[in-house]
């Protein structure tokens, strides 16, 4: 938990956003994040983010499921309590395929979702700072981190120059905390469009 200063620029088009991201990076500023209402393909590359390895984690969880199912069932039927079912083999691998498969899928899916929530710091009651309420609606919000030496006027001028529709500076927490949205976020006041 640390308060930091940020310059915020809002864009209403992906086209201008991509251009702006490239220019801001060229100018040597540190992009804290870009908040978008939907996944914009290629934006992660443009921002220089590395690929996620979440799928590798999923693979490992899946493998754990396979191993658990096979070892457990073979232990039960060959060591712990071997049951004679019409003289059929105790180690009945083909009959275990369905459960092995299901457990593989179950562990991979549950493990991946939990990992996803953990690394993205998502959970019920988690509160984060939102730079613009319409970042989940129709605006692409670029947030630039401002250090001690950053010239805020120049940053804002650059953002305006890059066709940002709205430019401001904010002081905010960059992490998460336990909080309530109704107490810490303003209510929406725009008229309902019928």
């Amino acid at each position: 938990m640390a308060l930091k200063k940020f310059a915020v620029g809002c864009f209403d088009e992906e086209g201008t956003l991509f251009h702006a991201v490239a220019r801001v990076r060229e100018a040597g500023y540190k992009i804290h994040d870009v908040y978008t209402p939907f996944p914009v393909h290629g934006l992660d590359k443009a921002m220089g983010l590395r690929d996620t390895s979440l799928h590798t984690a999923g693979f490992i969880y899946g493998l754990t499921g396979t191993t658990t199912a096979v070892t457990f069932m073979s232990w039960v039927f060959t060591k712990d309590w071997p049951v004679n079912i019409g003289g059929k083999p105790h180690f009945a691998l083909p009959a275990w395929i369905p459960i092995t498969f299901e457990l593989t899928v179950l562990m991979a899916a549950v493990g991946m979702v939990l990992t996803f929530c953990y690394i993205c710091q998502l959970a019920p009651f988690v509160k984060k700072h939102h730079f613009h309420p319409r970042a989940t609606d129709d605006l692409f919000v670029m947030v630039i981190e401002c250090g001690e030496k950053t010239d805020k006027v120049a940053v804002k001028a650059l953002l305006t120059d890059l066709h940002a529709t709205e430019v401001n500076t904010q002081v905010a927490e960059d992490g998460w905390w336990i909080g309530r949205y109704d107490k810490e976020q303003k209510l929406y006041h725009e008229p309902i469009v019928a």
């Binding site: 086209g15 991509f18 251009h19 220019r23 994040d33 908040y35 209402p37 939907f38 996944p39 914009v40 934006l43 992660d44 983010l49 690929d51 996620t52 979440l54 799928h55 899946g62 039960v76 039927f77 712990d80 309590w81 049951v83 079912i85 009959a95 275990w96 369905p98 459960i99 299901e102 899928v105 991979a108 899916a109 991946m112 979702v113 929530c117 690394i119 993205c120 710091q121 998502l122 959970a123 019920p124 009651f125 509160k127 984060k128 939102h130 309420p133 970042a135 989940t136 609606d137 129709d138 919000v141 120059d161 998460w176 949205y181 109704d182 976020q185 209510l187 929406y188 309902i192 469009v193």
Partner: protein
């Protein structure tokens, strides 16, 4: 950049009207933010009433035992397992739409996937009730779980198809729920950020897990969706395969059939899409979502229905052929004397009419795009698919090998029917709540395809498509130069 994602004019726009991103948000959120209509209340109360009747029917069964149902010595599986298989089948379309169509890059799925996934979850919830209460002593249901117990420990038989079912259905439910909810998080955040009341802000704030829309989070979210889709694709096929193993691994004539797994999976997709149609046609009208669930969407789903209906029809004929070809008198009697004829012959022919013959009308484009006709057909198909399971289950067991073990005519008791109606109550209660409090269309996914599949883009590209190759090239190139000069100017 947008030129690279060129999509031909041959395909109709998936989103009608010249929508902006904000329009999409407004269109989908307005029903959540407005007060429920009178129609909603009427539907909701009817569903709750049905649910309560179901609860009473189940209460009778639990208190007085399974004798409350008309199951007998040979018909040990009747309406309960028929309903179980029927609901599980319906629960297949959601994951099919969200997972398999995601892998196949079918963009039209974005209009219907969210509601279809919700339908899946509720249908699986309904399905699960039947085998659980069929156990009779339902308080012993946890005996199916492999937990270290004081009886040895005595483990469940992992070689049994009924045990596979426990794993398959519960895995399917959990994975579908995770898939659905992880997709919902960004959309719940949209509703949270638009909330006009404190309570709404608080509750959607909890439900949206503190989602911000960060690029890194989106990147992981995309990866998660893709892998979950990859996992769900074989899962959805495995679940109905395993359900079919409940029958196919037995030696009962009529059940002992190797064609069951693909036949059941096709039937599941068939009935699932029919249920999606029933729900979507009402939903798009009541919630004014005609721009997102277009006639094009309906037509595409009708194509899936005619395809899977024909596969199912082939399977029915294959069964008859194999019974004749096998030269096993019991098989032949079961199919030709007790199934297509005999006291339950009417149910076989009802199934044939609803599932095989009537969907063939969807070969006509006019009928595929006719909303009223589609609605009627979707109900006809679901009646047919219910009778398919009834035919498979009841007509295979009501006459055993020896005439002394033939049962009297099986018909359900009021509590068996009540249990079935109760699951309708459960399903629609959940669905009404979902339609009121959750975004019924995946907002973020619609926005994601808006630029390439929306009407504005299609119209712009329509002109582009008529250009000659040279003119097209010049056009693209000209755009590039303009862009570069613009960058240069900005540099200076």
């Amino acid at each position: 950049m947008s030129l690279i994602k060129y999509e031909s004019q041959v395909r109709e726009p998936l989103i009608d009207g010249h929508k902006t991103y904000h329009d999409v948000t407004e269109d989908i959120c307005h029903t959540i933010e407005a007060k429920p209509t009178r129609l909603w209340y009427i539907g909701f109360y009817i569903s709750v009433a049905l649910l309560l009747f179901g609860v009473y029917a189940v209460y009778r069964e639990v208190t007085y035992g399974i004798g409350q149902w008309n199951l007998g010595r040979t018909v040990g599986w009747g309406w309960d397992i028929t309903n179980f298989v029927w609901w599980v089948g319906i629960g297949h379309a959601g994951t099919l739409i969200s997972a398999i169509l995601l892998l196949f890059r079918q963009r039209w799925r974005t209009g219907v996937n969210r509601a279809a996934e919700a339908m899946t979850i509720f249908a699986v919830m309904c399905a699960g009730q039947f085998p659980i209460f069929h156990m009779g002593r339902v308080w012993m249901a946890f005996f199916t779980l492999p937990y270290p117990n004081t009886r040895g420990p005595l483990w469940p038989n992992f070689n049994s198809p009924l045990m596979w079912d426990v794993f398959a259905i519960s895995t399917y439910f959990i994975v579908s729920l995770l898939f659905w909810y992880s997709g919902l998080i960004p959309d719940l955040a949209t509703i949270r950020d638009r909330a006009r009341t404190k309570l709404r802000k608080h509750l959607y704030g909890i439900a949206s897990f503190g989602w911000t829309g960060s690029t890194k989070h989106w990147q992981r979210h995309e990866s998660l969706s893709l892998v979950l889709a990859g996992l769900s694709t074989p899962l959805v096929l495995s679940v109905h395969t395993i359900v079919s193993f409940d029958f196919a691994t037995s030696i009962v004539p009529g059940w002992h059939t190797t064609i069951f797994p693909p036949y059941f999976v096709a039937g599941a997709i068939f009935s699932g899409f029919a249920m999606v149609q029933t729900l979507m046609l009402v939903m798009r009208k009541v919630m004014r979502l005609e721009a997102y669930i277009t006639v094009n969407h309906i037509e595409v789903m009708n194509k899936v229905i005619v395809l899977t209906g024909s596969i199912v029809g082939c399977a029915y004929l294959t069964e008859l052929f194999m019974a004749w070809y096998s030269m096993v008198p019991y098989e032949q009697d079961h199919f030709f004397k007790y199934r297509i004829a005999g006291p339950y012959g009417w149910s076989y022919w009802l199934m044939m009419t609803c599932n095989v013959i009537s969907p063939q009308l969807f070969w006509f484009k006019k009928l595929r795009r006719n909303i009223a006709f589609t609605f009627v057909m979707s109900i006809v198909v679901n009646i047919g698919m219910w009778f398919e399971r009834f035919v498979i289950i009841v007509t295979s067991v009501y006459r055993d090998y020896l005439p002394s073990a033939w049962s009297i005519y099986y018909r359900p008791s009021i509590w068996e029917i009540g249990f079935y109606l109760g699951t309708f109550g459960l399903f629609f209660t959940c669905f009404f709540l979902f339609a009121k409090y959750f975004p019924v269309i995946a907002i973020a996914e619609i926005k994601h395809v808006l630029k390439t599949s929306g009407q504005s883009y299609k119209e712009k590209m329509g002109g582009m498509e008529k250009l000659s190759a040279r003119a097209f090239h010049d056009n693209v190139h000209h755009g590039d130069e303009e862009h570069e000069t613009h960058v240069k100017v900005a540099h200076h």
